[in-house]
């Protein structure tokens, strides 16, 4: 049985599954239930400065999009940081941590952009015996209007400055949580590293309007006829998050910087993918908000089974395994040739591959009178669209042509690796020596 224990920047947890800073980690009662369910750690919902806490709207906080059978695919929220007094949160954190010493307890923080505010809050949290802090530079709504959260995360200089203050004023490990609402995720990650961050966590939520009410003509969620952009999360954001994690993991400047992966993680498989792209652990929110805390049991059993099958004894063997295979487009092998193949045994004859290919791609699938669908190798460019629209998993697969085999589409045999940098059509091609 694989060992799921993880050591993330010196913080140990029995498994790599943490709950992200969010509504599920706002109160002692929730966090105790989470730990009872088996979660390896939590990032307590963001605390603000001492004094009267922030207030939330009293109308709907969440909007969503759904797939078939109303499966929740994306969720957005306009909730702010904790709206409970600082001292209550601190007391509860201390109480829970005392009873669950083997679990990771991280405290998320967001205070105004001055050194005293950060020094002050850090002083308060040290006493809880929490394992670390996470700086919330990500929330894109509400708090950003007040110069905090996402507003800070969009300015690398501020990230660096605040991170440095925090490292100066606490002995606890500091994780910097990044906003995806920027054009190049590497810049804030580099700033965090320069400021001395022990790790980055990403992604926070994405600016979004989930839908528009076509009766009231207001964005959802609607508060008294008005709406505002909220932070988007859930399965729909996973591809965006995976890319951003990979960008940081493979960048020369930030390679090796520990990453806590966040963004639409719903199953063990999602978690494993983040870890393979360099995340030392993962944080989950929407999946728990959709299905409850029990999902961690599937994540634990699934990741264990996978690691056993792969002969991995420890999660560190998985972390970063896919990073060397993330590259730039220009280095992709242009002489790698595949052709779609439809398994007639598995085909249910829906014809979606045909419609997709005929209407929107390369007219490379034929349809017979008895609804047999066959790939035309001399037309197939291997785009993979048919694979993606087929309702039966693995019915259509991409078959690689071996070196030397004839590609019927181009009339040329498959040859050795060659990429765009040396391609004759590339005006800036460098001649192979």
């Amino acid at each position: 049985m694989a060992n799921l224990t993880t050591d993330f920047i010196g913080i140990k947890s029995p498994n790599p599954f943490w709950l992200a800073s969010a509504p599920p980690t706002d109160k002692e009662v929730n966090v105790r239930r989470a730990f009872e369910a088996g979660w390896g750690g939590v990032v307590w919902k963001t605390l603000g400065s001492e004094g009267p806490p922030v207030v939330n709207v009293n109308g709907p906080r969440y909007g969503a999009i759904w797939g078939a059978d109303r499966r929740l695919l994306g969720l957005n929220n306009i909730e702010l940081i904790t709206d409970r007094p600082l001292e209550i949160n601190l007391r509860e954190i201390k109480s829970v941590k005392r009873d669950y010493k083997d679990r990771a307890m991280i405290i998320s923080l967001m205070v105004p952009c001055d050194e005293d505010s950060w020094k002050d809050i850090l002083g308060h949290v040290e006493d809880t015996e929490a394992d670390g802090v996470e700086l919330n530079f990500g929330c894109p709504h509400g708090m950003a209007e007040r110069g905090m959260g996402g507003a800070v995360g969009q300015v690398p200089e501020y990230i660096e400055m605040i991170t440095r203050w925090c490292k100066m004023h606490t002995r606890m490990p500091v994780i910097v949580k990044l906003t995806p609402n920027i054009s190049d995720i590497r810049k804030p990650a580099e700033a965090a590293k320069r400021g001395g961050a022990d790790a980055v966590s990403l992604i926070n939520t994405i600016n979004s309007i989930t839908s528009v009410n076509l009766d009231s003509f207001a964005p959802e969620p609607t508060i008294d006829g008005k709406g505002t952009h909220g932070g988007y999360c859930g399965p729909a954001v996973k591809p965006i998050a995976l890319n951003m994690v990979a960008e940081i993991a493979r960048s020369r400047e930030t390679h090796g910087l520990p990453i806590s992966g966040i963004g639409g993680i719903t199953t063990w498989r999602d978690a494993a993918e983040f870890m393979a792209l360099g995340a030392g652990n993962v944080q989950v929110c929407t999946a728990a908000m959709t299905y409850g805390f029990k999902i961690v049991q599937e994540m634990i059993s699934g990741l264990s089974e996978y690691m056993d099958e792969k002969g991995m004894a420890n999660t560190s063997e998985l972390v970063g395994r896919a990073v060397p295979n993330v590259t730039d487009w220009q280095f992709l092998n242009l002489n790698y040739v595949t052709k779609a193949h439809i398994s007639q045994d598995d085909c249910i004859k829906c014809g979606r591959c045909y419609a997709a290919c005929e209407d929107t791609s390369h007219q490379a699938i034929s349809m017979s009178d008895d609804r047999t669908f066959t790939v035309k190798d001399d037309e197939c460019v291997a785009c993979n669209l048919c694979v993606n629209v087929c309702p039966v998993e693995n019915c259509i697969t991409m078959i690689e042509l071996p070196k030397g085999a004839m590609d019927e589409r181009t009339g040329r045999p498959v040859s050795d690796y060659a990429n765009w940098t040396t391609h004759p059509n590339n005006p800036t091609a460098t001649a192979a020596e």
Binding site: I348, K349, R352
Partner: protein
């Protein structure tokens, strides 16, 4: 409740009023909005969809299901009605397990098709429930067409002709329009007077006059119609019933199943008399409807006897299962020899059959106790007002067209009759406007 299932003879009121109400309630209630959305989500929106090809009226099924899935059931209903104006009834009575749902790719993949029939009912009930007729008549063409028979074929034909701007008169020999929809379908498939409501809704297109109680050959002649109208459509169905050609078939208690089914549709259920031991002879939908409804009326034992094997039976597997689940016993491979009894039916003697060189051969005999026997071995055309093609009417002769059960080709299904009536209307329209 003066009687019980055990009361001998053919009597009414075998059950409590509550039992009648339950037995003859909607056999498959309409989906609610949530159920419809869940069911609609299962459709793959196939290319050149097999379900659409299998539908005799070629309803664009993937499109109407997508319209349900996107929250526009009225648009879905319009998609259905554009091809099949009796889409509401067809949603209730179509043997979908032999048509659209049989070829659904999810039936192929999982053995569980998209529930097309029930989705169709959801859409059509939604729109019809608003009392709205979704089509508008074209400007009057000044052409007049006579339609004989207000069954599915005649109604579909009349509607399409009216839509095109023609003036239509429908002649119906029965007291009510609807044909088999009104008189020939099991009561539990179309409760709450749906057939009559559907006709009323269909006629909202305008331009259609229905004359009931008028029979071709008795009250009006084909020559007169030909003289008075620009075209004539015959949708006269099958008026005759095949005889058993077995001794004793005229004994008291032996009856044509179609008459029993019609009586059930037009009566309060407790007042319909049924035997204690019922034997139904035949293997089609009429036989199943008579057998199941005998059971629902409180008959103590109901046996359906079909002369060939299960695979040859024209009632679908689904209907056979429905019959057996309702408590009907089905005996395959036995043919009636004689109906027994002095004045009234006391039993039926059958012989087991097997295939021989000259067709079915009779073997060992057995007797079933019976006080009521329903004959359901098929219907026939009766008198042919125009030429015949085989056992049925030719589809066109001069300015006369024919469609539905009375005409050559196609199966004897409501949905086929609708398609033929509609297509005849298109042909008549093309001919009148040429």
């Amino acid at each position: 409740m003066s009687n019980s299932p055990l009361t001998p003879g053919v009597v009414a009121e075998r059950l409590s009023p509550a039992a009648y109400a339950e037995n003859f309630s909607d056999v498959q209630p309409v989906f609610d909005r949530h159920e419809a959305r869940v069911a609609a989500d299962r459709c793959y929106f196939c290319f050149d969809a097999p379900c659409m090809t299998a539908c005799p009226t070629s309803i664009d099924i993937p499109l109407f299901i997508r319209q349900i899935a996107t929250g526009t059931p009225d648009a879905a209903a319009k998609t259905i009605f554009a091809q099949n104006i009796l889409g509401g009834m067809c949603a209730r009575v179509c043997p979908t397990e032999q048509l659209c749902e049989e070829v659904c790719v999810r039936e192929v993949a999982e053995g569980k098709p998209v529930e097309i029939g029930r989705l169709q009912r959801f859409a059509t009930d939604t729109l019809m429930g608003k009392g709205v007729h979704p089509f508008t008549r074209a400007a009057s063409t000044g052409k007049r067409v006579a339609v004989v028979g207000a069954g599915p074929a005649g109604l579909a034909c009349a509607h399409r002709l009216a839509l095109k701007g023609h003036e239509v008169t429908v002649f119906e020999r029965h007291a009510k329009p609807g044909g088999l929809n009104e008189y020939g379908i099991a009561a539990y498939k179309t409760p709450e007077n749906f057939a009559a409501r559907e006709v009323e809704w269909l006629l909202k297109i305008g331009g259609i006059t229905v004359k009931t109680g008028v029979e071709l050959g008795r009250d009006v002649t084909l020559d007169e119609l030909e003289k008075d109208y620009d075209a004539v459509f015959l949708g006269i169905g099958l008026a005759g019933v095949n005889a058993l050609r077995a001794a004793g078939e005229d004994l008291k208690g032996a009856r044509n199943a179609v008459d029993f089914i019609a009586e059930l549709r037009q009566s309060d259920k407790p007042s319909v008399a049924v035997g204690r031991d019922v034997v139904v002879i035949g293997g089609g939908m009429t036989a199943v409807d008579a057998a199941v409804q005998s059971k629902l009326l409180g008959a103590n034992s109901v046996t359906m006897v079909y002369r060939r094997g299960k695979d040859k039976m024209s009632a679908s597997e689904y209907e056979q299962d429905h019959a057996t689940q309702s408590g009907v016993r089905i005996i395959y491979g036995a043919a009636p020899v004689r109906v027994l009894g002095d004045a009234s039916v006391e039993g039926v003697e059958f012989a087991y059959t097997h295939d021989g060189p000259n067709g079915l051969e009779m073997g060992e005999t057995f007797t079933l106790k019976a006080d009521q026997v329903f004959k359901a071995i098929g219907q026939t055309l009766g008198a042919a007002p125009i030429g015949k093609d085989g056992a049925k009417l030719v589809k066109q002769q001069g300015k006369i067209w024919a469609g539905g059960d009375c005409a050559a080709g196609g199966e004897d299904l409501t949905v086929t009759a609708v398609a033929e009536g509609r297509d005849a209307a298109e042909a008549i329209h093309a001919s009148l406007m040429a």
